[in-house]
Symmetry: C2
Subunit: 419 residues, 2 copies
């Protein structure tokens, strides 16, 4: 096999551990300099490839690349940019191949979710069609945990841990205040389509530390009457209640709870969250004092409380992607395969990209309790190992020491291309 | 000195380290069984004293009391309940003395902010007047950091650390997304009167890790034009921007930003946050895609990322309170005295309660940059040591192992008293 360069890009919403996958890719590639020449990263994801804005990762020290393992976010920049179908947008795909050819790139590592799995597959198909040899490997990443075949998605375990820890801590807080003040705490979490992240809030309560938690899943149409009855019964029994609400919860009318036609004093539409809507609803119907939080980016960027399991898997998947490329694989994605629940054991497997692209893994209904407000033992068995272990970043003067790479640009060889 | 029992209560909003002060009080009291008999805690703060709902802390194991050091929230329950002036509400004060008398309580430890310092002082004055000997010691606590004399308030350092770490992490996230998606991230933090907590967001950026952060302080009247110009200039220069907004920010009309007369589709008033108001304002005027978070209870309950400095001080103040009582002091509060900035050194001092009660320590204007959107070096020198050091709680199966006490009630001796 002739020595070829490699291309790596990060795609979509970033996570606490996508850079750990990057470290896995880069460190493993550096161990095989006989086969992999330079490793270029796309500045701001696939846009970097289209505009020939490549970063020479070879300019980064071994220490800085190792630091990626504990640095959240996308170190080379990510993007929300979906390539359209091959027929609709052949120009963009051909441009990719042109850039890869110009820089002697033979390996394409794409680190993202469902959409980028699809892009990765199409790039592989086109390279075959155009007779340009390219091995396209997808590295899974998504806090939404909705990729098929792999048991879980890197990024999810750390969000799940953040949510479980935060809900536990805030529940302790509300419990202290409930006698004369706040009785209901509402926390909004991510997950527009699937309730995996909301479900993690359920882990805050376990047999060693019981806490009253009500979860609102996007999979269950919101029923105001049932919800208020549940909250009221919970407060009556425990004195307080924590509510975890997924941003994706919809009413029976199919509209997002967060989209309640809110207007400011001037009549301007305001984009609010689901948490304040839920909190105000509780106050109005039950009169309980409330507090609410919206975790937003904090949850997916919280590398300081990342799951060690998640970090290890993210790194292992990046490493495996390079190993798969070296043994000649194409149009595949390394996966996390669960070997056993208790003790939790996992290994890295491989999936064909054709079976990954455009398939969303939803939460099974039997992961949600019959009343729709909690998680079942089955769900707990699945989730619990994913948040296991701490992997603190190094701190200095009280702050985590995350790395900011130099990101030196590679000299362009081609004409400009408008994206 | 005859052997007397002691009473301890937690007051107001709880923090990540108020239980560390409780551990300091209880463990130190246990070391002086010759002078301090039983240590009772008020269930839900001072309400527990008024209703004679006392908890026998002697029923808790040494291990559980030690666990308080790393457990957030108020382990005995807190309350938002301010005793009125002595003249207006003599009955309540007399009831307190009656309960203390019934349970042979000679030491009164009150763990709270400015209001409870005032209550503590009044209890001390009344006991003198009624000829019932009582030593009243106030243990400082407040995330707002607004108590006078003490250099800082336990609870603040940990919130400051949470905010600094979270803003750093979220800023890394926005930086990754800015090319094609989110350019402005807004995070709302606590601090209705003083901007101490918002200021801590400025620590996220330092000479080792520069990040573009704009802060909105309650001390500076919000000027929409200037703010939008600042955000726009920041995004133009850095590609993105993080905004830290205090919940207490008011417009030039003196109204809270969060109180924008928001109505839902049915015309019901909605209590929103300042963050969505700011975020929508940026979107409307500048067209930048935004994300926003409201940290709310998460920030003050986040024991998992507490400041070691804060934990150590909280414990030391609880310990000192007992020592002051043992040497006969009354109507005092132990304080944190700063000995030096670099290296940071502190010791425990003592303040007269008469000089603490009803005094609020605001942020000096020279802690805020001239343009009103950042912190000065003076502010940084003050804040930086307070977030130093990590003090992780023990984890099991991925979750922090916080203690839930037994909180066994003491048998009542008096008639019921309606609060």
């Amino acid at each position: 096999m002739a020595k070829k360069n490699a291309f790596y890009a990060q795609s979509g919403g970033v996570t606490a551990v996508i850079n750990a996958s990057a470290a896995g890719v880069i460190e493993t590639a550096r161990q095989h300099k006989d086969k992999i020449g330079k490793l270029f990263a796309g500045r701001n994801g696939i846009i970097g490839a289209l505009t020939e804005d490549l970063i020479d990762t070879g300019k980064e020290s071994a220490k800085d690349i190792a630091s990626l393992r504990y640095t959240p976010s996308g170190a080379f920049g990510s993007c929300r940019f979906k390539l359209k179908g091959l027929e609709e947008n052949k120009l963009q795909y051909e441009r990719l191949i042109e850039v890869f050819k110009a820089h002697n790139i033979g390996y394409f590592f794409y680190n993202g979710g469902g959409d980028s799995a699809d892009t990765c597959l199409k790039v592989s198909q086109l390279s075959e069609k155009l007779g340009y040899p390219l091995q396209a490997i997808h590295v899974p990443k998504t806090v939404d945990n909705d990729l098929p075949i792999t048991d879980c998605c890197p990024g999810f375990g750390s969000v799940a841990k953040y949510v479980a820890v935060s809900v536990r801590e805030a529940s302790f807080d509300v419990a202290s205040m409930a006698k004369t003040s706040t009785k209901v705490f509402v926390m909004e979490v991510m997950g527009r389509h699937a309730g995996w992240i909301a479900a993690a809030g359920g882990l805050a309560s376990d047999e060693r530390c019981e806490l009253p938690i009500v979860i609102l899943f996007p999979e269950i149409a919101f029923n105001k009457t049932k919800f208020l009855a549940k909250v009221n019964a919970t407060v009556k029994k425990h004195g307080y209640c924590s509510v975890v609400v997924s941003e994706g919860v919809k009413g029976e009318d199919g509209k997002f709870l967060s989209d309640q036609g809110m207007r400011d004093a001037f009549g301007h539409a305001q984009l609010g969250g689901a948490a304040p809507v839920i909190a105000n609803m509780v106050k109005e119907a039950l009169g309980y004092k409330f507090h609410w939080a919206v975790a937003d980016y904090l949850q997916r960027a919280a590398r300081h409380i990342a799951s060690k399991t998640d970090v290890d898997q993210a790194y292992a998947l990046g490493k495996k992607a390079v190993e798969l490329a070296l043994k000649g694989d194409n149009a595949v994605m390394p996966t996390v395969d669960r070997v056993s629940d208790k003790p939790y054991k996992w290994k890295i497997g491989v999936a064909q990209l054709s079976k990954v692209a455009n398939v969303e893994k939803m939460m099974p209904r039997n992961f949600i309790t019959a009343d729709g407000f909690g998680i079942t033992e089955k769900c707990r068995t699945y989730l619990a190992p994913l948040i296991k272990g701490e992997d603190y970043p190094p701190f200095k003067d009280g702050l985590p020491q995350y790395v900011q790479l130099k990101n030196v640009a590679v000299t362009k060889k081609l004409k400009e291309f408008k994206v």
